[in-house]
């Protein structure tokens, strides 16, 4: 039983990781809570649904599932990235120019969140939709736990994305520029890095990650318009537990949160899941605000 709990924790943890990775990439450069990240994730799931289920049932219901996904995957990645960039350009950038305080960003972000979530509800309706086709296959038995193909896919994709992102930030020129802006935007602009360009890149990459997370989740569970709220909350919590803005921290935080929640569900009851997550958050905020990675928080922020 313990093995199964750990495996489940690892899987939900890797989804949290993907969301908090995207959130962290964006947070590093802009330094406010991009709450609307959650609806980009929900949007990714719904776009995948449209491209894999709705659209094909109009044209040709016999089209191969593999081919559908070949179209859906790049489309979701590109569209999610584009939506992220659009949100930044339309809403955040004018606020940034005015040097608005964080609370204004946060509220504007809530506005975007509410707008897009209800747009999804208007288009698709409030009911749950499912992407899974056919019967549920029995999973593999590994170390006394059951794991399905889709869950293995989720684990593998998250690991790959994490490693890719880590290498990107450490090795490439753009990644280094992103780190520079994260450390000190003013100094970065002095050496000729355009912070606006970096912020653009951060929103594109971060939002694409959210899109992928949404797509992966849609394979595993039902999708509904309100799914973004829970996701972004867990993403932010994972980020803070790990150390806000840190990329390895986002991963540690995500896995830690996933494991803790599933252990809690096992020992207490499923209803207390969110309560456990927030209790862990508050403990971290009060005792170790730098998170697992002990990130230095800027004096004026905490």
């Amino acid at each position: 039983m313990l093995q199964q709990v750990l495996i489940n924790g690892l899987i939900s943890g890797s989804i949290y990781t993907l969301i908090s990775l995207g959130f962290a990439i964006i947070y590093r450069t802009v330094r406010f809570f991009h709450f609307a990240h959650g609806v980009v994730y929900a949007g990714g799931a719904y776009l995948a649904y449209t491209l894999v289920v709705s659209f094909w049932s109009l044209v040709d219901s016999s089209g191969s599932l593999f081919l559908r996904w070949c179209i859906a995957v790049p489309a979701v990645i590109v569209c999610a990235g584009a939506v992220g960039v659009l949100i930044d350009r339309v809403v955040y950038r004018p606020l940034r120019k005015r040097k608005a305080p964080n609370l204004v960003f946060l509220i504007a972000s809530f506005g975007v969140f509410i707008f897009i979530q209800n747009l999804l509800q208007l288009i698709y309706g409030a009911q749950m939709l499912t992407l899974r086709a056919g019967s549920v296959k029995e999973g593999h038995h590994i170390l006394g736990a059951v794991i399905t193909n889709i869950q293995i896919l989720i684990l593998v994709v998250s690991c790959l994305l994490f490693v890719t992102l880590w290498l990107f930030v450490q090795k490439t020129k753009l990644g280094k520029a992103m780190r520079a802006v994260a450390d000190d935007p003013l100094a970065a602009s002095v050496v000729g890095i355009n912070p606006e360009r970096i912020i653009l890149a951060a929103f594109a990459i971060g939002s694409a990650l959210a899109g992928v997370a949404g797509m992966l989740v849609s394979l595993e569970t039902n999708i509904e318009p309100t799914m973004g709220m829970n996701a972004i909350l867990k993403g932010i919590i994972a980020s803070i537990i790990g150390g806000i803005g840190s990329i390895p921290g986002a991963m540690f935080g995500g896995i830690f949160l996933g494991l803790a929640e599933n252990l809690g569900i096992w020992k207490i009851s499923a209803g207390w899941k969110d309560c456990i997550a927030f209790a862990i958050l508050i403990v971290f905020l009060l005792i170790r605000p730098g998170g697992i990675m002990n990130v230095k928080t800027h004096g004026e922020r905490l």
């Binding site: 809403v91 004018p94 504007a108 309560c275 927030f278 958050l281 905490l302």
Partner: protein
């Protein structure tokens, strides 16, 4: 609910009902404005306090037959105690982190209301909550309840007005504008912050209790974190640090969406559309007038 309105004088009853709800939100908005608008503490868990107030006075009335008047007072006091409990550790947090921690409190209180089935009956809610009675007669008609709520609104307004126009209120604004300067002037900033949390929570508790005894049914879904966000939006919309703004903010954000009901759209379209307009309104407000409709406070 629909049966009540479809019998007699439906339009008038409905109109009065909306006014009662608006009044309750005005109390919530005024009390949150003290915390967020005047003291500059980004608190995002206001619904938690009204939840505690509502459940306390409902349970006291249902299980022990306590008078709702007494229940209202005890509920508000329990909410105030929670405010102190939350306020104390929150002093170490600022800005976004305080917002998140108080948000967390909202989730935790909601989870307790939902999962502690033995006491709160969980998602089934508490039905049959008795109403207030005065001089032996129960206040059940909507118009009489409106008067009751109006009395509490005026009371809340007077208390808030007294607080913010006193030297005490000046210190709160000093904390908002420059906490370090306030500290340097020898003010015990932490003490003031806790008092503000307690007062805010107390009035939120009153609002929750008024709501419970009016609707006569409560369940956790009335006190979600989205509710806390909605109250914050009313504060920001009307104007941070403006008591008049709290009336405007609560009134517009409660009444305006209701008006959309009369456009004759099916509810599957109207409900999300209403929310979309809400979201759009917020974005535009933040872009064009972040100080709110009546606010004068310039954001740092």
């Amino acid at each position: 609910m629909t049966s009540v309105f479809s019998v007699a004088k439906p339009i008038m009853e409905y109109f009065l009902h909306i006014l009662v709800i608006t009044g309750i939100y005005v109390i919530l908005t005024l009390s949150l404005n003290l915390v967020v608008g005047y003291t500059g503490l980004a608190a995002l868990g206001h619904a938690a306090f009204s939840c505690v107030g509502a459940y306390t006075s409902s349970l006291l009335a249902l299980k022990y037959g306590l008078s709702p008047w007494l229940g209202l007072l005890i509920g508000a006091c329990v909410a105030a105690v929670l405010g102190a409990v939350v306020g104390a550790p929150s002093l170490r947090l600022k800005g976004d982190y305080l917002a998140l921690a108080t948000f967390g409190l909202g989730v935790i209180v909601y989870s307790i209301a939902k999962n502690w089935v033995a006491v709160t009956r969980g998602p089934m809610g508490l039905p049959g909550i008795p109403g207030f009675s005065i001089f032996g007669g129960e206040i059940s008609a909507v118009w009489s309840y409106l008067i009751l709520v109006a009395v509490f609104v005026v009371l809340t307004y007077l208390v808030m007005h007294r607080i913010v126009s006193s030297p005490f209120g000046r210190i709160l604004r000093a904390i908002r504008d420059d906490e370090i300067a306030a500290l340097a002037m020898g003010k015990n900033v932490n003490k003031y912050k806790i008092i503000v949390f307690v007062v805010g929570a107390f009035f939120a508790g009153i609002a929750g209790s008024l709501y419970a005894h009016y609707i006569t049914f409560i369940d956790p879904s009335s006190f979600t974190v989205m509710e806390s966000i909605a109250i914050l939006l009313m504060v920001v919309f009307g104007g941070m640090g403006s008591l008049g703004g709290s009336f405007v903010g609560a009134a517009i954000l409660v009444i305006f969406p209701e008006m959309l009901r009369f456009l004759g759209m099916p509810s599957s379209v109207a409900a999300p559309l209403r929310q979309m307009i809400y979201g759009l309104l917020l974005i535009v407000l933040m872009l064009k007038r972040p100080q709110g409709v009546l606010g004068t406070y310039k954001w740092k």
